[in-house]
């Protein structure tokens, strides 16, 4: 049966190709949208569990917003003086578990780092007060960073090969990668971390502080991250802190995540509508192609029954043929869909902020399997009933098609 099915596919090449292409488009779109959707959702979930901060404080005159600061890995340099951040009242202080400042700067595209044209975000952290990297550092047994050591986000390992032990040049200074962070689904994944003082020195070497309205970078920071004690009313804290300071924006990370989630939900709806439209169009084409494949061979079925082929064998023959066509089309579409995930995400990230979760060969394989599963499901939905009907057709009816 498999041999007949294969021959049918190979020797009816044009029909087979049409069906394969149609199935590939349907499954490809599905796999692509499914992957992008789940990647952004898992990014949000990861950020919830791994970001660790409850409140973000950043300069009011910054051109970037909180979403971009937290999730995009944007390389824009923006600073405020440590003194701009208002001293906390005793009430607010009592609710804070930790405060950590960060200093952002960027590599220069094409010359800064790692033979990539991309401009990368460098973040200086104060490891004494830091609670963002703390858990990971403890897990890895890293107590401190020397001035020549950096920690990198997981995307940088995957995209430009910054793995542990690798030496790289950042803004004309040599650094060794001390470790690679776990995926967080935030801008951290595309960030290089080093000591705050080293970051300030690097900035001073490459970017005159005057262009940012500063005399020096000695007391400059880009943002503060605050971790609040369990049970603290975050919204009330944010309101209280914001009221006490005019030079900064104070936002609840949870609120940023919520906004992002709402934005992603809307975006997902658009993707879903797009997929449904594609599914309907390709589905109609597939139905008509599969039906013509089946009903166009009515006489052949009658002939096969006349030479002694059983109903179940005819059923199996069609199942093999349609299953193979669906598998080829489904797998081709799913692989194409998976390969297009990163290009599509890059395009979309230029339009909106999209956090991204873990994307590995294993996950890509799962998505391909999912796409293949969809192709088989579609083929089963479309063809089972007509194939069953036809296999059960009396040989005379199949042969004569009512001609007698």
């Amino acid at each position: 049966m498999l041999r007949i099915a294969l021959n049918n596919i190979v020797r009816r090449r044009n029909n087979s190709m049409l069906m394969i292409i149609c199935m590939a488009i349907t499954v490809g779109i599905f796999t692509l949208l499914w992957s992008v959707f789940s990647l952004s959702n898992s990014g949000l979930e990861l950020s919830k569990s791994r970001l660790g901060a409850d409140v973000l404080v950043y300069p009011k005159d910054a051109e970037v917003d909180d979403e971009k600061l937290l999730f995009s890995g944007l390389t824009e340099m923006v600073f405020m003086d440590e003194e701009v951040f208002p001293p906390l009242s005793d009430d607010l202080k009592a609710e804070v578990e930790g405060i950590s400042s960060q200093f952002f700067l960027e590599t220069l595209p094409g010359v800064g780092c790692c033979e990539t044209d991309e401009s990368l975000r460098i973040v200086g952290v104060d490891l004494k007060s830091d609670f963002i990297l703390k858990a990971w550092l403890e897990q890895e047994g890293i107590q401190s960073l020397s001035d020549q050591e950096i920690i990198v986000g997981s995307d940088l390992r995957d995209s430009i090969g910054l793995t542990t032990g690798v030496t790289t040049i950042l803004l004309n200074n040599s650094f060794t990668v001390k470790g690679v962070l776990h995926k967080t689904g935030t801008g951290m994944d595309r960030t290089i971390f080093l000591n705050m003082d080293v970051a300030r020195k690097l900035a001073a070497q490459s970017f005159p502080p005057k262009q940012f309205g500063l005399d020096s970078y000695d007391s400059a920071v880009t943002c503060y991250l605050l971790k609040l004690k369990e049970g603290t009313d975050v919204d009330a804290f944010v309101e209280g802190l914001q009221n006490g300071s005019e030079g900064v924006n104070v936002v609840a990370v949870r609120e940023t995540q919520g906004n992002l989630r709402a934005q992603l939900a809307m975006f997902s709806q658009i993707l879903f509508i797009f997929w449904i439209a594609a599914l309907i169009l390709c589905g109609i084409a597939l139905v008509s192609m599969f039906r013509s494949l089946i009903y166009g061979r009515k006489k052949e079925i009658g002939y096969l029954r006349s030479i002694g082929m059983q109903q179940k064998e005819i059923f199996a023959m069609f199942l093999w043929e349609i299953g193979l066509l669906s598998t080829i089309g489904g797998l081709a579409g799913a692989v194409a869909g998976v390969l297009l995930v990163n290009p599509l995400l890059s395009q979309l990230q230029e339009l909106i902020t999209i956090p991204t979760g873990e994307w590995s060969v294993g996950i890509a394989c799962l998505r391909v399997l999912g796409g293949w599963g969809l192709s088989l499901l579609l083929c089963a939905l479309i063809t089972t009933v007509p194939v069953c009907k036809l296999a059960k057709l009396a040989p005379f009816e199949a042969i004569s098609e009512g001609e007698l």
């Binding site: 006489k299 029954r305 030479i307 109903q311 042969i399 007698l404």
Partner: protein, 221 residues
């Protein structure tokens, strides 16, 4: 030995108005029989052949093979019976379009009586050796018909039901087919030939004429 027996077989189609294609036909088909059935178009010849091949169920009457009613068999049994017992040469050539002639023969052989049947010998007999790798769509009308005949012979059936097997063939090829049918009957097979060509019909041992669904014996040698 009597192989197939038709007893008052009637087949009525009800598509809009009632049409009796075969009317109370009784016929006995034995080993070595070479039977021809002549008749004008629409006289019910092909329907009778379909009934004899177990491809169509009669409205009334019975058809039995070696004493067992065909239509008391399950679908699986009847299909097996068809594969091993009946070689059906359809009026319109029927082959699997995606298989070459040789592959069609090999497929048919799996369901026939003789799994060891020599494909090459049959191809040679029908002068098809050079065409064995062609798909049905690459064969001419006459070649297809001979191909269909090869597919029937490879199954080594006990009964050959041939519905206008000489259509699309020149006289020489037609005579070759008739000779092969005659030879099959001499070797113990039962052959039923439906034709509207009196010349081919005359070469059969028993000649019947079909008129308005009724079968009448014309000559028996």
């Amino acid at each position: 030995m009597e192989l197939l027996k038709l007893l008052k077989v009637t087949k009525t189609f009800e598509t809009g108005e009632k049409c009796t294609a075969v009317n109370e036909v009784s016929l006995s088909v034995s080993e070595h029989d070479f039977i021809s059935i002549m008749g004008v178009s629409g006289s019910g010849k092909s329907t009778l052949l379909m009934l004899m091949g177990g491809l169509l169920k009669p409205t009334s009457g019975d058809i039995s093979y070696l004493g067992k009613s065909l239509f008391s068999m399950s679908d699986t049994e009847l299909t097996n019976w068809r594969g091993k017992t009946v070689g059906y040469l359809f009026q319109n050539v029927q082959l699997v379009q995606a298989l070459t002639l040789r592959e069609n023969m090999e497929l048919a052989r799996r369901y026939g009586n003789n799994l060891e049947a020599n494909v090459d010998e049959i191809l040679k007999l029908l002068d098809l050796t050079k065409l064995q790798s062609r798909l049905p769509s690459q064969l001419s009308g006459g070649q297809k018909r001979r191909g269909m005949f090869a597919v029937t012979l490879v199954r080594d059936p006990k009964i050959i039901l041939a519905d206008e097997p000489t259509n699309d063939l020149d006289d020489k090829s037609s005579q070759q087919i008739i000779d092969i049918l005659q030879s099959a009957a001499q070797k113990g097979k039962a052959v039923v030939l439906v034709t509207h060509n009196a010349r081919w019909a005359a070469q059969a041992g028993k000649q019947y004429r079909m008129e308005n669904g009724s079968l009448n014996l014309v000559t028996s040698i």
